[in-house]
């Protein structure tokens, strides 16, 4: 069971309290009607699914209830950092380097 730092509560809590909501930084298009079918399908379904560092959305669902984002290494399963919703996406490449890839 992973231990996850909640950036809002400021504490580490067991994974049980959290729910993972998939890849982060996929914004809903501001004007969906202006998107092509391909763009909409991409928004709905296409994810990067990398072997390595990924930015994910997590929710502290059984804690403060907040969504936040986290960089996680899908190989080691380690959390590299967490940051609040709305904060810019860190450069995964830099973290990949630190994670030894």
């Amino acid at each position: 069971m992973l231990l996850i730092q909640c950036p809002y509560c400021g504490v580490e809590r067991p994974e049980l309290e959290f729910s993972c909501r998939g890849e982060a930084h996929i914004a809903r298009p501001a004007d969906p009607s202006a998107t092509t079918d391909e763009q909409w399908a991409e928004y709905l379904y296409l994810r990067t699914n990398p072997k390595g560092v990924i930015a994910e959305r997590w929710r502290h669902i059984h804690g403060c209830g907040r969504f936040f984002n986290a960089l996680r290494d899908t190989v080691s399963d380690k959390f590299l950092m967490v940051y609040k919703a709305g904060e810019p996406k860190p450069d995964p490449a830099q973290f990949s380097k630190e994670a030894g890839r």
Partner: protein, 191 residues
């Protein structure tokens, strides 16, 4: 101090039998209370504090208490305010009046959850049979309040003293919580 203040807010419900009485731990249903969910942005905090009579805590996982009042930080824009049951209507209207000018949400959740009081030297141990977080005082000091899980059920947990806790759960989950607490305490009766 928290012990004294809570005793007014969270007292054992004299109309209900204790759920567990052992030398090292007891579980008592708490009497009903007024509970209000307060949601607002920073602009509302001082106004809400004025209306409610305690500061609205901004430090995560903390509570502010005053006579017959407790305000719990549950999230960065979410608080639960607790007061004696009879004061519900007054509190709701005070909050609405004071917060009128700022965006906010005040919702009555008095009946949504029930509370039990778990206390005694083995209270922390008993809770840790189902609560996955560290309840050692160094990690979960007196006064700390948090939402977490008890086995498969969400709860709110407030430590009111070294050996005393308030556990709240939604009404329909309380039988599960107390049933498991009582079952897990069974071994304490063994010599």
């Amino acid at each position: 101090m928290a012990d004294i203040l809570t005793s007014e807010l969270y007292s054992a419900d004299s109309s209900q039998a204790p759920l567990l009485v052992l030398p090292d731990v007891t579980i008592m249903p708490a009497a009903p209370a007024a509970r209000v969910s307060l949601r607002c942005r920073e602009t509302g905090l001082a106004l809400a504090a004025k209306a409610f009579g305690t500061p609205i805590p901004q430090t995560p996982l903390t509570a502010e208490t005053a006579a017959n009042r407790a305000a719990f930080w549950l999230g960065p824009d979410e608080w639960m305010l607790v007061a004696p049951e009879s004061q519900l209507a007054a509190i709701l209207s005070d909050l609405e009046t004071h917060l009128d000018a700022v965006p906010h949400s005040v919702v009555d959740i008095s009946h949504r959850q029930d509370a039990v009081l778990v206390s005694g030297p083995r209270a922390g141990w008993l809770l840790n049979t189902g609560v996955p977080i560290d309840l050692h005082e160094s990690a979960f000091a007196v006064g700390t309040v948090t939402r977490t899980l008890f086995h498969k059920t969400p709860i709110m947990l407030w430590r009111t003293g070294p050996d005393s806790f308030v556990v709240e759960a939604w009404g329909s989950f309380m039988d599960y919580v107390t049933g498991l607490l009582v079952q897990s305490a069974e071994e304490l009766k063994a010599a």
